[in-house]
Structure formats: structure tokens, C-alpha cells
């Protein structure tokens, strides 16, 4: 659990400390890449919670999505159509869906745990009464 958080911290501090800047012309590409990365990330978390997680799919999806989104944006710029909006829309919708599924899974997990705890308490009290 703490490893991804550590990774996030390392990534952010590396980015801020390196003081790396990209020209504003390319900031569109980067923002869409960030969106694609977030989408893949939440997809991975969801897959992990549903126990269908696959390392290869996750890693390949991560890079493939980023490249696809960036190339879509590139194509859009050269065609004069804001194609990157398509990517933003698709990733945005998927992001929301993934987060909703994650929320539901977590909620059912918590409620199950709470029920188990309750049952355990009742059984304990019954045992005490028996004694």
C-alpha cells in the first residue's frame, strides 16, 4: 500500500526538483498523456480489486494508451480538428466508470467486514451466555 504512495512522492519530487519544463505548444500532449496514465492506473486498481489483474496488460496498456492519446492529439493538430477532445472524453468517461466500480467494490468489502464483525460479536456473546 505504501509503495505506490512512495512512488507518487518520488515522481512528483523528481519532477519539481528537476525543474523540467516543456514548451507550451506540447503541454496539450503532456496533459492528455497524464489523463491516459491516470485512466490506466485506475483501471489497474480496479482489475486488482476484481482479481483479474495482469502485469503485462497493465504495463502495455499504460504505455500504449499514452502513445495512442498523444498521437491522436498530434493528428488532430495537423488535421485542424480538436481530436484530443475525443481522447479526453474517452478517458474521462472511463476514469469515472473505473472509480465508480472501485468505490462499489470497496463499499461491499467494508459492509461485509462490518457484518462479519457483528456476527462474531453475537457469537461471542452467545458463547459467554452458554458459559
Amino acid at each position: 500500500m505504501w509503495l505506490p504512495l512512495l512512488g507518487l512522492l518520488i515522481g512528483i519530487s523528481l519532477g519539481l526538483l528537476s525543474d523540467l519544463q516543456i514548451p507550451s505548444v506540447y503541454s496539450n500532449y503532456l496533459s492528455i498523456a497524464v489523463l491516459a496514465a491516470l485512466d490506466t492506473l485506475f483501471g489497474g486498481i480496479r482489475a486488482h480489486l476484481q482479481q483479474v489483474y495482469d502485469d503485462k496488460i497493465f504495463i502495455s496498456g499504460f504505455f500504449f494508451n499514452i502513445i495512442l492519446a498523444a498521437s491522436l492529439a498530434f493528428l488532430g493538430v495537423h488535421l485542424g480538428v480538436d481530436l484530443y477532445l475525443a481522447a479526453v472524453f474517452a478517458f474521462g468517461v472511463r476514469l469515472f466508470q473505473n472509480i465508480a466500480i472501485i468505490r462499489r467494490i470497496l463499499l461491499t468489502k467494508w459492509s461485509e467486514r462490518a457484518e462479519e464483525k457483528k456476527r462474531g460479536e453475537i457469537e461471542e456473546s452467545q458463547d459467554v451466555e452458554k458459559l
Binding site: G11, L14, G15, L16, D19, V34, A37, T40, G44, I59
Partner: protein
Amino acid sequence: MKIKSKVSIALMLVVSLVGFMLAVQYNSLNHQPAERDTRDIWAIRNEIAEQKQAQSELLKEIRDMDHTLYTYERAKSEDPEMALIETVDDLKKRAGFTSLTGPGIEIEIQPSPESIALGLPIETIPADLLTRFINDVNRMSGLIIEIDSKRYTILSAIRDINGVTTVNGLNVKNPPFTIKIVTETFEDSEKVYNYLLASPLHDDFYIDNLIIDIHEPSEQIELNGWTERVDMMYLQQLPKGDN
């Protein structure tokens, strides 16, 4: 356990990449290059000169106000009527009611020789050309202007009425006519003279078949006062004895 750690490492890598990208994006969005000051030293000096001029004008205004205040203070103990008359005179002079003589230049607006040679009809000077001329000259402060014997005050209007250019509602003669400019000092007159000699106004006038003949500055230029009454639409006299 092994699978889980593998997941965590992959996740960590991806998350750190996401964080890195976010940080770079943040960096690039928040460090837009500030607008560069590309003025060279002369442009900056020009600006300083302008500001200095504004400063000296303000100082002069303050000095004038101080003088008026001093006059009032003195009048309190001496003669209040004298102070008031002095103020009224001063205001009348500034509003352009009084005739005056001072250093200045005379400018004659004439039809161009080419238009005379071609036999073109001589028409009245266009109102917007005259306005342009006045605006251009008025960039120098402290000028008193008279157009074709009509005193140009802050309330004067240059208008085109039925194809005839008017100043203060009075027709301006067809060229040739004279414009007189009186300045505070003779040096100022020379400044205006030199400015007008090199001014692009000549070209503007030439388009309308007119030329500007600027006479050398002279010590004695006489200006008429504004003869009409000034209508005060919004100012009212207070009843006497009210405080």
C-alpha cells in the same frame, strides 16, 4: 506474496511516472516566461522624459494653487475684494476672454501652388484636418491658439456645418487664412516653430491641396479675446449670503 509485491512494484513505477508527468505539467504551466521588456535605452529615456514633464507640470500647478492660496490668506487680513478680482481676472485670462499679446508664431494656411496652376476650386479647410492640426499642436502645453481671428478655448468646437468649417460657430474663411499661436516664452515659440517645420502635418495638408506657411517666431503676437458669452448649463450661482 510474490505476486502482490510484483503488482506493487509495477504500480509504483507507473504511479511515479504519473507523478513525474504531473509535476512537469505543473512546472510548465506555472513558469510561463514573463513578458519581456524589449525597450531599448532610448525608449526608456523617452518614458522618463515624459514622466518628468508630467511631474514638472504638476509641480507648476501646485505652485499656482499655492499662490492662489497665499493670495486668499493675505486677502483675509487685507482686502478680500482685491483677491477675488484678481482671481476672476486670472480665470478670465485662462478661459480666453481677454485679448493678449505675447511671443508666438503665425501660420498661414494657403492653397497649394499646384492647385492654383491647375485651376482647382479653393475649398474650405476640412474640419477634421483642422482638428488634427489643433490636436497635434496642442500636445505642447500652455499654448493659446486663434484660428482666423476666432479664439480657440477649451469650450471651442470645430465643426462642419453644411460643408463650411466653423470655429465657435463662426465660419472659417476659405484659404488663405492665419492661425496664431501664443506661447509662454519665446523659447517655447521657437520649439513650436521647429516642431511644425518638421511635422508630418504638411503631408496631411497637401492631400487637401493646402500648404502650411509658418512664419518665424515673433515677440509680439496679438490675440483677440473670446467675445461670446459662455453658457453654463450645469453650474448655478449660489444665492448671496449663504454659507
